[in-house]
């Protein structure tokens, strides 16, 4: 029983990171109807930027010891800012001029992913960097189940970010415009909404979530390298699809589902079969419900 509970905690920890990244895929798809294949690498950029931001803050603070929580918060904000800038410039250069041509833009997205990976490789070198956790590690024992502070922080921060996102999308005017665009993209400009602004905002929010995901992932698995975004990105993408791509709650649910499936597969079968089993399970979900759990079939206009 405690073993199951322990694995459940691990699954929630992994799932919330996946959910954060999956949200980025889902939001961009909802607004632009295009799969942003570079998102996994934006997540990687987020992880690296938070590493450098933490170094910078430590350097600036010098001997005046500032609390770790502040460093964590500061590096998260800096990483979010930097990653948003990177994502926005990519959108401006590579996506916006090609928005009319659906397939070409997917190729530039793939290209930008490769570009980001190798640019990072050029800048930081081919070494795997160990990420020093910013949270002092402490293990709590609750009814035989051990939960570390890192796990608590990861779960808390990601749920907080998701709540903020939910607030933005449901309560603000911009959020309403986002939902409107994903509902009917032709009619929205007629209502006086500047689509470009909304697209920019969507990219900014998506990349902020990816940066936070990068920081949290680096805490959970403290090694960062330029290729780390590929696998995590694809997995997050698939979990977004399982939840129903374009639907925000679907992306959250999909992330958690993938987390659970992965941990369960790792616990029951040999761990090298983990990816195989989790992808097969996701394919089975898609077989039963091709548009994902929350997804609705696209309306066809004749």
């Amino acid at each position: 029983m405690t073993y199951v509970l322990q694995q459940l905690i691990n699954a929630i920890q992994l799932g919330s990171i996946y959910a954060l990244i999956a949200l980025g895929y889902s939001m961009v798809y909802g607004v632009l109807r295009f799969i942003n294949f570079a998102h996994g690498d934006i997540f990687m950029v987020g992880a690296f930027l938070s590493y450098f931001a933490a170094l910078l803050i430590r350097r600036l603070a010098g001997s005046a010891g500032i609390p770790n929580a502040l460093i964590f918060l500061g590096s998260m904000l800096l990483a979010m800012l930097g990653t948003a800038l990177v994502a926005l410039s990519i959108e401006k250069i590579a996506y916006r001029p090609l928005r009319k041509y659906r397939l070409s833009v997917v190729i530039t997205a793939l290209g930008m992913g490769v570009f980001l990976e190798h640019m990072t490789l050029v800048i930081v070198g081919p070494w795997r960097i160990s990420f020093q956790p910013l949270i002092s590690e402490k293990v709590h024992k609750v009814a035989g189940v051990s939960i570390s502070t890192t796990q608590l922080v990861i779960i808390f921060v990601s749920i907080l970010l998701m709540l903020i996102l939910e607030f933005i999308v449901r309560q603000t005017k911009q959020g309403m415009a986002m939902r409107a665009i994903s509902y009917d993209r032709e009619a929205v400009p007629l209502m006086g909404v500047n689509v470009d602004h909304i697209v920019t905002l969507t990219f900014a929010i998506a990349s902020c979530l990816a940066a936070a995901g990068g920081l949290l992932y680096a805490h959970a698995y403290p090694i960062i390298e330029p290729y780390m975004g590929i696998m995590v990105g694809w997995k997050a993408f698939i979990s977004a699809v399982v939840g129903g791509i374009g639907v925000i709650r679907g992306a959250m649910l999909g992330g958690y589902i993938l987390g659970f499936v992965e941990i369960a597969a790792g616990a029951i079968f040999p761990s090298r079969m983990r990816d195989l089993i989790s992808f097969v399970v996701l394919m089975l979900v898609l077989l039963a419900k091709p548009t994902g759990i929350f997804g609705l079939p696209l309306r066809q206009k004749v």
Binding site: F115, L121, P290, P297
Partner: protein, 365 residues
């Protein structure tokens, strides 16, 4: 002796560049020009004697002889020529799905991997080694058929509905195939598989490239292929015009994977070693890049894209890490200028049947 127009020498020192260009001009261009000028009247007379149906065949033969001569017995040039052919097969088969059908398949390397493994297992364990080249086509066809069956398993669920779902499902399939091969200890697992004889050579690659080209060109120009193009332009309208869209998509997708499997078999018998991590998304991305570099929905585009990309990889080799920084940027610049690729929706004249160009004009977008 500059191999592949002296690219190896340029890698050693950039200062050799003017010398190499001068050498290339002196050895390749000037003699070619002189010989061409001298034999031009003869060739003209000869062409008039050949019946026009055989003319294409004669051209292909000439091209083959040129390739064989240039490849010579030089290992590196033969290798590059073979890779060009294999890339061309991959590129044109992916173009059938991504360009002509307008769907988005991202897991092409997975099917290539299936073909590579099946073909190598057949030549190493099943067929006697002494038969070699005699059974090589059989092994390749079996690899292609295996890839097509794998594609059928993917196609049945993914063409139930419309939209971007093919991308997702092919992506997952690529992971499943790679991870599946890794977990089968019998065929080497993640250590890879080796022991193949070196069966891939320029004649085989040339034969299969031409075969693929002819097959896909005729497929695209057939009523079936028109249906595939109709699906790209407007699926609902195609359905209204009695195109069985689901079946059409499955046929096109399986054809595409069949040729990917053949390319995989050739690839395995060229490098003599295959590894599951060869057939990951990076390889699939390479195929996609070739398709969109050359041009969507264009056979000539696939030719241009595969040749350009293979040579580009070789030319940029001395840049090491920066190579993969530069290639996406080149691709981006090119896509910004020409959004459908270099030859997108256009063909060289001789790929289009003559009646068609006269009646309808070139098949443009």
């Amino acid at each position: 002796m500059p191999t592949l127009f002296g690219i190896i020498l340029i890698q050693q020192s950039l200062a050799l560049l003017p010398g190499i260009i001068a050498y290339d001009v002196l050895i390749y261009l000037v003699p070619t020009y002189i010989v061409a000028r001298l034999v031009a009247p003869l060739v003209k007379k000869w062409i008039q004697r050949v019946p026009s149906q055989r003319l294409l065949f004669a051209y292909v033969l000439a091209l083959f002889l040129v390739a064989l001569l240039w490849g010579g017995f030089h290992e590196y040039r033969t290798m590059i020529l073979c890779l060009m052919g294999i890339n061309f097969i991959l590129c044109i088969s992916l173009n059938l799905v991504n360009g002509y059908m307008g769907e988005f398949s991202v897991g092409h390397a997975g099917f290539m991997g299936v073909g590579a493994y099946i073909a190598s297992i057949l030549t190493v364990w099943v067929f006697p080694r002494s038969l070699g080249h005699l059974v090589f086509p059989l092994a390749l066809l079996a690899g292609g058929a295996g890839a097509a069956i794998a594609a059928l398993l993917v196609a049945i669920p993914s063409f139930k509905i419309r939209g971007d779902y093919l991308a997702i499902i092919t992506l997952a399939t690529n992971f499943i195939i790679k991870n599946g091969i890794e977990n089968i200890e019998r065929i080497g697992g993640s250590r890879g598989f080796m022991g193949m004889a070196k069966l891939t050579n320029v004649p085989w690659v040339f034969f299969w490239s031409v075969f693929t080209l002819v097959a896909i060109r005729n497929f695209v120009l057939s009523p079936y292929g028109r249906g595939v193009i109709a699906i790209r332009e407007d699926e609902i309208a195609a359905e209204a015009m009695t195109v069985d869209t689901r079946r059409m998509k499955m046929v096109a997708f399986c054809t595409s994977s069949f040729f990917a499997g053949i390319a995989g078999g050739l690839f395995a018998h060229l490098l003599l070693y295959i590894n599951p991590s060869t057939f990951t998304l990076l390889k699939s991305t390479e195929c996609l890049v070739m398709v969109y570099l050359g041009g969507m929905a264009s056979i000539s585009g696939s030719l241009v894209g595969a040749v350009t990309f293979t040579i580009l990889l070789e030319i940029l080799r001395p840049l090491e890490v920066y190579k993969w920084v530069l290639i996406p940027l080149l691709l981006l610049v090119m896509l910004l200028r020409r959004h459908a690729g270099l030859m997108g929706f256009r063909e060289f004249r001789f790929f289009i049947p003559t009646e068609e160009t006269e009646v309808y004009g070139p098949a443009s977008h």
